[in-house]
């Protein structure tokens, strides 16, 4: 018995699985590659949604999953699909969801803008209450580059570097019909506030300029950026309030710099969102009646019919990018075997809609700069 064991031991040579001719070395087998790069959207729920981050995840296969910066730099691509003054749509290929989400969060909450914060109301006899009117004024987007201004903290005096002053004075005369107060009635005051602060100091001489609510040392329209284009709300037809006969609104609004984190009025984007590129794959040949049925099921016309001649038809995937993941094509019996809906995990279709202060491509560049600044801050804290 021992002799037989020894013979068998000598015959068994050590060989590695990599010596077999048909095992691809340095690459993952296709089913693992599918798991690593695609989210499979099944009928009930998506699977493989978490990206495989650990650098040694495929170490036993000889594949290095670590972040190699040169690999990232070579594979990363940006393709712009649409770019206008107000919105843009572009594709980012080769990046991970964590970073794409970081950009989205910064676009919504951490890019500074100018918005009306303090409203000094001299007279308001309209039906809209003071605080409601002030809230509405705060939400009006102002068309000015926020990078030209500084933040104002509580101890600072409002001056020309951190405040923009607007005036609104509308009156509806008795006997005339009701009027609508629109945002074009907001007039920019480049010289600062005109409302005079009541000062208790009797000793101050009457010859000096009366103190107002802001202290502008020079007029804002002497600055080159504002010399020829006055600061105004971006959209001049926003309804602020409505006045009946005999009602009047007289107020002054001060706009300061802030971030969306504090209040949504300071968010520079109407919204910014991303989605992963959908991939629709036909696992089997879908012919004739089934093909017609498949094409009619899809509400966004992802599928097309291809004529094969002799009256035979076949379904093809024509516009996978339009797929909204409604899963109509895999509802019903046996359709899951024929159609597979997946998402490509590192291809993001970003859409940014700006409210008008800055064009959307500038907004994205600023958002990336802010993420860099955050990293820099962490590095300096650690050193």
């Amino acid at each position: 018995m021992a002799g037989q064991g020894e013979e068998r031991g000598e015959e068994k040579k050590k060989f590695s699985i990599w010596d077999l001719p048909d095992v691809p070395a340095g690459q993952l087998p296709p089913h693992l590659e599918l798991q690593r790069t695609r989210v499979l959207c099944n009928k009930d729920a998506p699977i493989h949604t978490e990206s495989v981050l650990y650098s040694g995840a495929y170490a036993s296969m000889g594949v290095d999953n670590s972040l190699r910066l040169d690999h990232f730099c070579n594979n990363f691509r940006v393709e712009v699909v649409r770019l206008t003054e107000e919105d843009m749509e572009f594709d980012m290929i080769g990046i991970d969801a964590a970073i794409a989400n970081a950009f989205r969060r910064i676009l919504i909450a951490e890019l500074p803008t100018m918005a009306i914060e303090k409203v000094l109301i001299a007279n308001n006899t309209s039906v809209v209450q003071d605080e409601v009117l002030a809230h509405r004024l705060g939400l009006i987007p102002i068309s000015v580059d926020p990078r030209l201004f500084e933040y104002m903290s509580e101890n600072d005096q409002p001056n020309e570097k951190n405040t923009i002053v607007f005036k609104l004075h509308v009156r509806c005369k008795r006997g005339s019909p009701r009027i609508t107060v629109k945002s074009d009635e907001l007039k920019w005051l480049p010289n600062g506030s005109e409302l005079i602060k009541e000062s208790r100091n009797v000793a101050s001489d009457s010859a000096s300029k009366p103190e107002t609510y802001t202290s502008f040392s020079c007029s804002q329209d002497t600055l080159p950026e504002f010399a020829n284009n006055p600061i105004a709300p971006k959209y001049l037809d926003i309804i602020i309030s409505k006045l009946g006969p005999g009602q009047e609104i007289e107020l002054e609004a001060h706009a300061v710099k802030g971030m969306g984190k504090t209040h949504a009025k300071w968010s520079p984007v109407a919204t910014a969102w991303y989605r992963m590129l959908p991939e629709v794959v036909l696992l089997e040949e879908v012919e004739d009646d089934l093909a017609e049925g498949l094409k009619s099921k899809c509400p966004v016309n992802v599928f097309d019919i291809e004529d094969l001649g002799k009256g035979k038809k076949r379904a093809t995937v024509a516009r996978p990018r339009a797929c909204t993941l409604c899963r109509e094509c895999i509802r019903g019996e046996e359709w899951e075997k024929r159609v597979a809906i997946r998402r490509v995990r590192d291809h993001f279709i970003f859409t940014i809609e700006s409210t008008g202060a800055l064009p959307p491509d500038v907004l994205f560049t600023e958002a990336v700069k802010i993420l860099e600044d955050k990293c820099e801050r962490v590095i300096t804290e650690l050193s």
């Binding site: 990363f76 393709e79 572009f90 969060r105 990293c375 650690l382």
Partner: protein, 114 residues
């Protein structure tokens, strides 16, 4: 800020103030991809306080250095993203300008021929 042990500096928890998921998730992604890291994760102790705890455990290198390298990698990735994006926007604007010029010249040709 760094809560670790004096004797073993390969494992530590870094507590960052004024940060949230935006930076923490991105740093966690780059940390995970580093082969020297055995464990990394982040948690937010309470959503009302802007504080993030990032835990890093390595195979021997000081955790502080590994975190610094991860932040450095993230910065380089951001710079690359920014330059690629700027270039793509420029190319798009240039190709649109060319298309607009072509359409204009086609229109003017039509007008002339009429």
């Amino acid at each position: 800020m760094e809560h670790g042990s004096f004797t073993d500096n390969s494992a530590a928890t870094f507590s960052l103030t004024e940060e949230d998921h935006t930076l923490a998730n991105a740093v966690r992604f780059t940390l995970n991809q580093d082969p020297r890291v055995t464990f990394c994760g982040y948690s937010i102790p309470h959503p009302s306080n802007a504080r993030v705890n990032i835990r890093v455990q390595t195979t021997g290198d000081p955790a502080r250095e590994v975190l610094k390298d991860a932040c450095q990698d993230l910065m380089l990735m951001c710079r690359h993203v920014r330059s690629s994006f700027d270039k793509a926007v420029e190319d798009f604007k240039a190709s649109n300008a060319v298309k607009a010029m072509k359409i204009d010249s086609q229109d003017s040709d039509l007008e002339e021929s009429e």
